[in-house]
């Protein structure tokens, strides 16, 4: 059985992602790596991210990892998490930087004027906490996870895909937004499955078993 590579481009601590994957890996080896060759040889790839997207893009390129990420997104089971979802898009309002362009669309900040609840109280940005994830279509990674199950989110920006067919999940925070996209061998999610208790672990386990 091949390795599961967690791509490390130097932005923050990947311990939680690695540990959660190890927990559900069923004997497969999970490696945290900055080596493009290890990414290329892996059976499946996890692309996490935290911090600001401009920094993430810069660090990814500084380590020469862009080609390896783009290649993996073409030919093996690929899971984007949080900024790892956002980086797959064409452009982000955060710092006005281009992303990897794997998906057509923009990354936008939660609009300040929409950050109110029905009873008029103000919603804080970042969107942080346990929110419901709605499945917009069946997917192998949703297997065994209830539609509307709560996942743990921490983010201020969200993706707006041009092609509605790639949307796999949505959530609501002042506005409805896309929180998961999927196409062929790629699944990417805004929330943190590694911090989302049993449902998060179920999603990671589904990813490890996934045969797209």
């Amino acid at each position: 059985m091949g390795k599961i590579a967690v791509i490390d481009y130097g932005m923050g601590n990947l311990r939680s992602v690695w540990q959660a994957l190890e927990h559900v890996a069923e004997g497969r080896e999970v490696v945290v790596t900055a080596d493009p060759a290890v990414v290329a040889a892996a059976e499946r790839v996890v692309f996490p991210g935290q911090g600001a997207m401009p920094d993430c893009m810069a660090e990814l390129d500084a380590r020469g990892l862009r080609p390896a990420v783009l290649q993996a997104a073409k030919d093996k089971p690929f899971l984007g998490i949080c900024i790892g979802l956002q980086m797959l898009f064409e452009h982000s309002e955060e710092g006005g930087v281009p992303g990897l362009g794997v998906f057509a669309g923009q990354v936008r900040r939660f609009p300040a004027d929409k950050m109110v609840t029905a009873d008029g109280s103000r919603l804080k940005v970042p969107h942080m906490g346990w929110n419901q994830v709605r499945h917009t279509r069946p997917h192998a990674l949703w297997e065994g996870i209830e539609d509307g199950a709560r996942f743990y989110f921490v983010h201020s920006y969200y993706v707006t895909p041009e092609d509605p067919a790639v949307v796999a999940g949505t959530a609501d925070y002042g506005i409805p937004f896309t929180c998961a996209v999927a196409r062929d061998n790629i699944f990417a999610i805004q929330s943190h499955p590694e911090k989302s208790a049993r449902d998060g672990l179920a999603l990671l386990r589904n990813f490890i078993r996934w045969q797209p």
Binding site: M128, W130, K195, S196, A197, L201
Partner: protein, 253 residues
Amino acid sequence: MALAKRIIPCLDVTAGRVVKGTNFVELRDAGDPVEIARRYDEQGADEVTFLDITASSDQRDIILHIIEACASQVFIPLTVGGGVRKVEDVRRLLNAGADKVSMNTAAVQNPDLVSDASAKVGSQCIVVAIDAKQTAPGQWCVFTHGGRNNTGIDVVTWAKDVAARGAGEILLTSMDRDGTKNGFDLALTRAVSDAVAIPVIASGGVGNLQHLADGVTQGGADAVLAASIFHFGEYTVRQAKEYMRDRGIEVRL
């Protein structure tokens, strides 16, 4: 649909064990921290908070090992506080596997710590813990050094100050209620949650499930923290959530 109100079991840790006291004194042993955290995760806790109440600095590393062990088995956000004095302390705890770090006395002594730490690691990782004691009707003062030292600082003023400095969350403990099982100080909780736009975690005094619900509905808290009602098996986290759900509070079940 909105964010779920959170239930956060709190583990006071010293010398590698979970303990629980009354009014900040008289400690009772409540067990192994990793085992307890795991049990709460299984019961549906939304987060677990560890407070390192170890007095001596040479035992500080024990908490790092506990967090490391915990982060390998518990897959929900972990908050750690106690003895955090420098941005470097914040980093060490985050690297050990904490998702948020809480600071108390050091933030009062050096408010720039709040600004510096949130600029370095992000507001979402920084919690300011406030130990509050009523000094006059409708007025509370900030206490430090585990509740021994009255700073004379008004709690609401301090809460606004740390929010402006980039704290992501406030953990608000009523020293008058802590360990009493008489319920949260709801007036205190309401005063602080009305004053700041960041989430407020109510703490101190929970004796039953109605107290938890009151913290949200009357105190305006975004999260409720409790220790002894969970540690000694009176209630499970799941029971607490079902109780809150039945009263119209959104929770993760």
